[in-house]
Amino acid sequence: MLKVKNLFKEFPSGEIKVKAVQDINFEVPEGAFASIIGKSGSGKSTLLSFLGALDQPTSGTVEVDGQDIGKMSERVKACYRSRKIGFIFQSYNLIPNLSARENVMLALEFGRWPKAKRFERAERLLNAVGITADKQLRRPTRLSGGEQQRVAIARALANEPKLILADEPTGNLDSQTGKMIFVLLHNLARTEKTTIVVVTHDLSIAGNTNTDMIFHLKDGKMIKS
């Protein structure tokens, strides 16, 4: 499903070049739940941005379903982001002036879902992640952190992606809610056969949830898998 080969990323910083990730190689099979663990600044979020076609590596390849993301045009990348992957961010990144349901419907719109089916699907997904009907009409600022992250998960699932990329999904949540979110993601991987790659610095959460694969990053290098 996901194949990363010889991935490098260098950022210019004054006269020197900072190596954000160096020689990363790994594979994640379809339906697996993988965790990338590392301290802050270890390059895990940068790595995730390459998997999601949000950024371009200096060298190396990322293949999803046999397709090299680096060779895609911007238009195809947009299509890839809307249909093949779902993003979950640490700070939720919901659109503030849309309701919870409208946030999910927006993702469906980008995924070219028929207009008539968007409402029903958004409602069903939000119900599935535990957002009640009255809360579906609320704007993100009127929801708790856990609820906002559930909406973000529903949005990530909207277009039935094969790959979900989660960047510190529990970083802004208390431990109890964090565990619930991980369980939710884990169940999705099992029931929907969705490949999930989670980036986290919290080894306790990642280790306690039957993670299929764990990759350790340190200073941009993969030290253990």
Binding site: S49, L54, A78, S82, N93, I95, A107
Partner: protein, 410 residues
Amino acid sequence: MLAARTAVQEKIASVKSSIGNTITISPAGMRGFEGGGEPLTSSQIDSVRSLPHVVSVSETLTDRLGTSSTNLATAVDAGSLGERFAGRSGIPDSAGSAPSRTPRNFTPPITSLGSSDLTNLQSFGGGEISIIGGGKFDPAVDAEVALLGKDLAEKNSLSVGSTFQAYDTAIQVEGIFDAGNSFSNNMIILPLRTIQRLSGQVGNITSAIVQVDDIDNAKATVSSIQEKLGAAADVVSQQDTSGQALSPLESIKNISTFSLLGALIAGAVVILLTMLMIVRERRREIGVLKAIGATDFVVITQFVAESITLTIISAAVGTVVGLLASSPITRMLVENSNSSIQTVGRGMPGGRMMGFIGESNTNWRNIQASVGWEILLYGLVAAIVIAFIGSVVPAWMVSRVRPAEVMRSE
């Protein structure tokens, strides 16, 4: 500003369309019935006919009927102003000093006009003379026939076919005309040769109207005529006169145009800077939209749509304000630029040009700004184009950045 500019533009077009291709020749220094100058002669005017661009020349001789030589009673009441002017005629009395006593029972004299062409007759106020009874005579023939002003005919109970005495001669009424004002309707019109003979001014004329082939040739023809006649004649074209009248209007149009351009440029800059600020503030949102699958086109379209929506709302508010403010602004512009022409066109009646200027001066006060569909459409299109350009540029700039870059920097 658009409404004011359009109103002034329409007024300029209206005044220009009313200008004929005519040039007036009058004796040098002559000012209506106040006199001045020596009469021109038909032989002088004949030399003008051969000049380039001259299409036709019509001659006129203006005179007044003496009370002893006519049985016509004047149809104009002198009023206190007429008596006052009559009392200050500047004619010394027998003792050699100017008369100080206002004469009693003063009646304004009847004007007699001889013309060689009845096709384009105009009144002293500049308006057209229309025949309301009978018909015109042949102006080329020396005959004792006349057209009578409506008021004069009523006052003297005359109709077509009647006769009256003028210059101690029986004259037959061929037609009755209406010139639109009391002064002109207190007038008789005779064939030029007839009035020249009866008044003892054979060969003399007091004005000539020259028709040129094109208004653009009027200025050159004025110079040619002036060169031909020398200091003996004053030569004025309607174009010259209208130019004086239209000059302040052109200034107002220019002020409106530059103000409009300034407002459009300022609007474009304000929208551009505002959208630049909004787009930069919402870089993270743009990053999120791209992360969940929005294309550059979708991002740009969203910001352009927002900008145009706000612009349309603003345009609606602006239209209401414009509707309320356009007339006062136009009035203010006209009033402030009006002083330069206030003194023009307030002469004594009797000169065609003075009448024309007086009419133009009246036109000044009649400028009304109106906001029609055309103006609304222009304004809306301009606002939308500005909003489009002002929003599409910054949105395009931001949409091209990589989502990770945007989200990392926030």
